[in-house]
Amino acid sequence: MTIEDRAGAGVAVGERWARVGGRARVRGELRYAADQPVPPCLDVAVHRSTRPHATIESVDTGAALAREGVVAVVTGADLHALLGERLMTGPAFSDQPCLAVDKVRYVGEPIAAVVAHGIDAARAAADEITVDYTDLLAVHNVDAAIDGVAFVHDELRPSAVFGDLKHLRGKRGTNVNYEFNLLRGEPDTEGVTTVRNEFWSPPTHHVPIELPYTAAWVDGDRIELMSTTQTPSYVRQSIADMLELPLNRVRVRSAPLGGSFGAKMYDRLEPLAAALAWTLRGAVRVVATREEAFLLTTRHGVAVTSSMSADENGSIVSATADVRYETGAYADVGPRITAKSGMVATGPYRTDNIRVRSRCIYTNKPSAGPFRGFGVPQVTWSHESLVDELARERGEDPAAFRRRNLLREGELSATGTPMHSADFLGCLDAVTAAVDWDSPLRRSEGRLLRGRGVAVGVKAVLTPTVSNAVLQLNQDGSATLLISTVDMGQGSDTIMAQIAAEVLCLGEGQVRVVAADTDVTPYDTITAGSRSTYHTGNAVRLAAERMRDRLVDLAATRFGVSATDLKLTGDGLVSAQTQETVSIAELVLGHFGARGTTLTAEANFTTSWVPYDHDTGQSPKVTEHWFAGAAAVQLTVDTATGRVHIEHLAVAGDVGRAINPTLVEQQLSGAAIMGIGHALFDQLVFDEGQIVNGTLLDYQLPSIKDMPDRLTPIIVESPHRTGPFGAKGVGETTIIPLAPAIANAVRDATGVRITTLPLTAERVLTALTEASQA
């Protein structure tokens, strides 16, 4: 079956439908989680560790408990006494308690929670708690952690979620909680030109503007949560496990999110809220302040030591990468990130000889977890800087060099999985054309030096995963779609409606998506990793197709014709034989003999993989599909101040097929703007484990003044054979190559190669000075 065959008859896919809830978003009338009605709740404040690594000798809660308005003070030890080891949660490793039990592992870790009438009373009481510590040696960076100067965890505790981590259970005396290895050919092979370097990407934070929020309450024998989460299905399982409840006694609801970018998934505030509500048999609300949100999760700081070698023909003959992910005090999903990024650590290039070692490493810092790009931008920083330098060493145009070496359709990636629907060349050509790559450049202008740079990026989609959709067609011809995908600004409510509408020939506004509610909406692995359009989109497409078949059957009965004679159109079902037409409304009314009735169809879409070989990382199918993107930039460097100014940034992503080009362009642009921050100034700064810039007065985010003079998002479409109408996701595609594209342009402008992010004015100016002195 070709993609065209499966295209719906409708006119929804490819249309620039307005974003669902657009007006409500603009007017501030959209209800986010904290605006949703919940029972009257007690407020929760936590007392936090003032040590990076210490044993908790005792916790004195007396003064806090004595304060007016305080209902309860709960410590990690209290919860451990009630819940035992079930207190420990986490997607890859069950290593994180919501309140520290026997020791603290980072500055700011919650130790005790105050439940009180009003947040002011709760906070005041939390300040009264005192903790007696015995300090332990702290591990502040990956090198110290690998050396094992101290161990953050006594033993490794893989969770039940990922079977392939089982062998790590109980392993002691290490801070490395996971190691991914990839081996192909003879990685020590060298061509005539070899480059090698050390790269560093610092930890950063997502900073969605909506703060994390969870309300939890007990309703009879059930617990209910309203939470800012991208992963309601995961949270339900996690809370059910923690409280030893059957899944039908846990209800998790989400609402549209005010941004997330990976910050609001897996276990964040939910375990604490649920544990408190359940043990107190009441209703509690946990709200993180901005300063607290910085402690909940971060993006991994990553060190990469890497090399790349080319032969005399300019073909890449070998590439190696030693990647160290700093995952902080708790593994979260770090081991998965380590593997998924390790797979692409040498880039989307045709290379026969590859070695990658990618390690996930505990340190005494706040836990690092998923962040738009899932660890791939940090390795792309390495391979796209290296490949650029390799081209320059050879005296070749960096775009042309990439062009020759980039993987084509059907060629094997480093993992041995073939490429499909990953048009690197199309993306590269589109962005270089946009910035007039080959046109002459005025390289010097007063204090300014001008240059151009380019980079590409590759990422594998999360595999295997499960998506479900339930489609309810109402008698009047409108539809209600039940999925657990969470709209967090990426526009999934709009995209999923368009997919269903395309199949059923419905118009804009006729398909309504229900917000995730585990009592109502079916299981979905996660809303993350740019997976929803493809996976949930396929479940929606399948459900809609089943619904269409159902309508066709009803119409066939009604008209007394065979099903093959019928076609669903915008006017309804049309019989070729009888030339009769019946609208959906009439058809359903006729079938049930009642108004307001519903037809229901459901579908599941599950992907599978072949697990990668433990020693070589090879697999014929390591992923369901690939993401391909590119960025090209023209910029100036002020030689007096070191400041980089972007004149033109062009980004492109192969999205298979753009379901809604407007929303796709916004994702391409939005990820690029976030990437500008990572390239130039966005980073979390630590001193001995303490975040020193953990407020928005100090933490740097791109504002409207950091926009490039020109930003061009470009959609590239090479349809995926099993994507819904050929589509794939897009949320991360352009953040991946962004930082190296900018650094490569700085290199082009100044001749200086900077390998540590971000490229702050100071770092650039210092590098320029050192280069001029050398």
């Binding site: 936090r48 560790s49 500055v107 700011g108 303490q690 020193v692």
Partner: protein
Amino acid sequence: MKLGSSFVVPAGPSRVFAHFLDPRSMRASIPGCAELERVDGAHYRGRLENEIAHVRFSAGFACEITELREPEQVRAVLKGEDHKLGSSIKIDALLAVHPDDTADGSSRVDYSMDVALWGKIGRMGESIVRRRSQEVERQFVTLFSEICASGPPGPDNPALVGTTPAPAGTAMPAGHRTSWWRRLLQRLFGGKR
């Protein structure tokens, strides 16, 4: 945060070294050290009080001498906690004294400190903390030099007579608390100003 420097004091190394270990001398030299007493040979305890901008920090601390190379080098680790402020401090300090080549009877003091601040105070702004630390450093150099110059440790050292603990730093709006410079001058010169 790393701090460190060296300075010359008009006293011989052995006297300087004796001051290193004398709680009374150190209390009078360390700005904001409100209390300091020796628990046993290698352990001290005390209280640090300091004001950084609008913030008052008061931490009981314990200090352990982790390395002692008589008569030239002492390494001590100080750990303190201000419960009220939800903050703690750790200072790993190395103090060394050598004969000074440039002048007879004087010595050069080298010090280096690794200061960690954790909790609310640690996140209130690195520049503010750094600036305050610079001030504390300068005061320490002045006070310690004066004490070394005035004689050996003990109650007879004129620089130590009548020293009373006082919090360092100033509060906003400024001026209503005697500035540290004035307090320093009062301490050194008996309130001549």
